[in-house]
């Protein structure tokens, strides 16, 4: 858990090297065909197919193979056909994903620095030296980036040719941009992430909150006026972070919205140009967002929707589609109100919830939120069931391929076997998100108690 200076970069280097080595033997692993790793939306094999169709001057969306962004085809497509002698086929793409993972790790680290900075500012202001000391013991940002890079889920996603590393990078980029108050960057990350997989659209709330309040300001509302007035009066020299705690700076938010508009128009125009002869944007929306929302592909994955929609009667399908999609939206507002003082953590919660309820989840999503969770390792250190969760994740990730094998290859199991692991996985995620939120709220309570005690 400790990483200092040089050894940190060594570990990063080993992680990247490990990926490159694994990429060179993909035929033995064949991770790209695993339903846990590559979903219909993120599979690189489907992207190659879309590119091939495009080359044959057909719509890349013809035949319900490809369901991603046209821009991805434009960027990754040529790489999928380029072959290097004696090397596996998608090596260039895989190398790109390694770079994406590396950048994501760096961005997580940078975001962690921002969070740490604001936190230590706050703790100094509140004279909470004990908490400050304890928080200094951890370098959460290093741990988070290492957790992201060394997470077996991340490695599998990276090696298994799925485009989720790029999505994850965009989400983290957006968070980083927001934390460092670079509205164009945040807007870019958010727009591209939304463009790639739709669900990050809900991240607009945490991003706006970060831009408005500054990164993870400790609980202003809980602390009440006592802290802000006293702290403010005592020390006028460094007012900038303090101001962030109190006022909501609309300037950044407007910047963000403006930039988001510009970037979306830009992306849409580019897509429209690319798909000019194949039905244009209409076709794109139908085949990407429409595909995601209406859960058309019922092939098994680690989620729960495929099973449900395979079972449900056709006449009820629309109704349940609305129910399941609204499920995510219902949770947005209450969480935003409760956790508004911790927008970064709110972003983490949103990512977990969307990866739990999305139509085509993959372990790439878990890779992202586990990395983000490690950013708050100091706050959620008292999380309950940590060992249970750890064992659960290991158990499910081992059980899932075995059950799949039993169902598909051996024929002695059936769909229920595989779905059982899906349910177990969903339960684990539920436990993780509830426990981490309650740990975070407990932490906030502790801070308040300390503050009142120190007065």
């Amino acid at each position: 858990m400790k990483a200092e200076g040089g050894s940190y970069w060594v570990w990063i280097g080993i992680a990247l090297l490990f990926r490159v080595i694994l990429i060179c033997f993909p035929t033995n692993l064949n991770l790209g065909s695993r339903p846990e790793v590559a979903t219909p939306v993120t599979s690189l094999r489907r992207l190659a197919e879309g590119y091939w169709l495009k080359q044959a001057s057909m719509s890349p969306y013809a035949g319900s193979m490809y369901h991603g962004s046209p821009l991805l085809i434009y960027i990754l497509g040529p790489l999928t056909v380029k072959r290097i002698e004696g090397k596996p086929s998608h090596i260039l793409c895989s190398l790109l994903f390694v770079i994406a993972d590396f950048l994501t790790a760096l961005l997580i680290r940078a975001t962690g620095y921002k969070l740490k900075f604001t936190k230590s500012q706050f703790l100094k202001r509140g004279n909470l030296s004990k908490l400050l000391e304890s928080s200094r013991k951890f370098s959460a940002e290093d741990i988070a980036s290492l957790v992201y890079l060394w997470n077996p889920f991340t490695i599998a996603t990276c090696v298994g040719s799925s485009t989720s590393p790029l999505e994850n990078m965009m989400i983290v980029l957006s968070l980083y941009g927001a934390c460092s108050r670079l509205a164009p960057l945040a807007a870019f990350g958010w727009v591209i992430a939304t463009h790639l997989s739709l669900y990050p659209v809900i991240l607009i709330i945490p991003v706006i909150l970060i831009l408005g309040h500054g990164p993870d300001s400790p609980p202003v509302r809980l602390l009440g006026s006592s802290f802000s007035t006293s702290g403010y009066k005592d020390d006028k020299s460094s007012t900038l972070p303090i101001r962030g705690f109190q006022t909501f700076s609309w300037r950044f938010v407007f910047h963000f919205l403006l930039w988001a508009l510009i970037w979306s128009v830009y992306v849409l125009v580019l897509s429209a140009i690319y798909l000019k002869e194949f039905g244009g944007l209409n076709e794109m929306f139908r085949k990407t967002y429409g595909f995601i929302i209406s859960v058309e592909d019922l092939s098994p994955n680690i989620g729960i929707l495929w099973y449900f929609f395979a079972e449900v009667f056709v006449i009820f399908r629309e109704f349940f589609l609305i129910v399941f999609n609204m499920n995510i939206l219902f949770m947005i507002l209450p969480l935003a109100i409760r956790l508004s003082h911790r927008p970064c953590f709110l972003a983490f919660v949103y990512v977990v919830i969307s990866s739990m309820l999305k139509s085509y989840p993959s372990i790439g999503d878990s890779a992202l939120y586990l990395g983000l969770l490690a950013l708050f390792i100091d706050e959620v250190r008292d999380i309950r069931f940590s060992f249970f969760l750890f064992c659960g994740y290991i158990g499910v990730s081992l059980l899932s391929p075995v059950m799949h094998n039993l169902w598909i290859w051996r024929g002695t199991g059936n769909a229920n076997f595989y779905f059982a692991t899906g349910i177990a996985y969903a339960c684990l995620q539920t436990v993780l998100v509830t426990e981490s939120v309650s740990a975070m709220l407990n932490h906030d309570r502790t801070i308040r108690k300390e503050l009142t005690a120190s007065k």
Partner: protein, 708 residues
Amino acid sequence: MEESEEENGGRKMKSMERRKARLIIRLGEFLISHSVLASVISCAAGIVVLFLLPVLAKKTYISENALMPGSANPMFSQKHVMEADKLVKAITDQIYSTGKELETPRLIAQYMSHLGAEVYYHKFKEETKQFHPFHFFSSIHTSGSVHGNGSTTALGINTVGIIRAPRGDGKESIVMVSPYNSQKLVLDDAVSLGLAYSVFSLLSQATWLAKDIVWVASDSRYGEYVSVDAWLREYHNPSFLSEAVKVDSDTYKMCIDKNMAHNCKNGGDRGSDDFRRAGTMAAGLVLKVTDQKQTNERDSLKIYSEASNGQMPNLDLVNIVYYLAVQRQSFHVKVGIIRSLLSSVFLKTIGKTLEILSEMVGYLNPKWKFGISSADYVEGSATLASSMYTQALGVPTGSHGAFRDYQVDAITLEFSPSFPFQKDLSHSLTIINSGRLIEGVIRSVNNLLEKFHQSFFLYFFTSPDKFISVGVYMIGFALLAAPLPIVASALFSGKFTSEDHGESTVTEKTSNSPASWQWIGAAKVVFTVHIWAIIVLLMPHFISQLPNLTSTMSMLIWISNSTITALFFYMVLGSPYQHSNPQHKWLLLKAVMISATSIGLSLMSIINFATVQIGSLFLVPMCLIAQPLRCSKPVLLTCCNLLFMIIGFPLFAMLIFESLSTEFEGICIGNFWEWTQSLWEWNSATYLYLLVVHLPCWVLFMHILFHP
């Protein structure tokens, strides 16, 4: 486990809300607080259930209605036996006259095409077995006949004939396999060819056929399994000619051309080289005839059904064979049995006790009687032991195992006549009976509308007509394994209660590693041990590539390398004992070890149940009683620990396995190597289990034992 976590973390909150705690949590707490008692009871119950399994076995029954076995009168008659006789004579004559076995495929092909079947040859070559530790995860093995330098080795030739069904659409088929050794043909093989041929000749005229019949006369010069496996692979995954194969086919042409030229001259019909198919396979029957000495008056039939990694064919297939063999043809049907157990005093005692118990219960209420005689019990146990052992080994018991990889149900039928075969087969009653049986089975399978799915896939036999289904045998294992999570959570909660008394304020909590994360250190140790185990697992692959090694040498190299790696890990990562707070350290380590083991056991129970059932008899008590020698007070416990230290060692476990199969006769260290090699050559999951679950558990047990 969940309950424990709930308890350890939320203890403070719980104490406030103890009244409000839900029933399930209170139940969990109760179990945890009495974990020792619960685990002893549960373990004992698990073992008792295991010994009760022969009593709990059910009679087999045919659950698929479409099968309708024995609903039609057999048409197999003396005429067809004459056909068989003709082929057998032709083959034996040819061998005696020319001394060339190479002609056999041609001869068979000739006979096949006389019947109007489509005939072709399938060539394959011997494959060096390769190590695919995770083979069972994916069914399609892409590597195989395509590469390798097969120019020097001769090719095996399977002769395949297909009868197109008059009432079928060519989408389904039934496969008969009759293995024979083309290099050294014996009478038994010839008779089994003749038997298959006679049935084939009957079916070629049958008007009721709705599924095509494929007869594979498989060339077992490289082993029965290899030939059938090669044919099935080609059938399901056609290999498109690549460079390597072209070269091979050239060499093949050179070696086969002489044969073929000869055939043409003879003017007989000959098979083509085109691979033909006949749709999905509904079932496979491997026919064998052995001319064993036996005391029984009736002809006997032995059924082999175990495929790789404890997979079994659908029970219905075995059932129709059993039903027809016993009810119609009065065969004496056998399945595998461990003979040495039949004279076991221990089993006899249990059998006697159960018998007495049954009688006593019968006095109280006649309905409660579970009537099983002592002899039945002993025989049932011996059969069950054999069934478990063959499944646990994960090595198929015959060439029917190759079918299971393609989800085709197949069994081997081994006929042995009551009287030795004479030169003249034409009056042999055995052939008539066997032919009628095979005809009946094929006719039943022919009636199938879907693939076998009604009956069980997971079961053990206790006799040919009694089985134990998965729902019953799972109970024993579940009871045996249940203490693991309970004890793990008890250890966790116990640890935290003792600590929570001391530190209750926030200041304590902000120490370097908070209470709820202390398991990370122990998890690191467990993880390291598993990494080491995986290295040990992969070692034989490299050792086997070294030239000129005897098995003893290989084994010694393996052991020494493993030890060196272990020492290396110690030096690099440091001893796990050096951390502070050793008092709780071993408790934590034990908790994590138990969790890891229970994950491993439950995973493995899905892959191959029988392995785990046997393995958990060692592992579960070992996990539960682990305690440092230094602080264990009762002498009995120490003795138990020392005992498990010895018998828990995987090599010793292997020794027990081996002594079950063969009698103790000169077991040397090289045998272990051969044994392991056969396991990984067959891609048995048992090998994985032994090295990834059992070995790390034992190593961690040793760690705890010698904990300061």
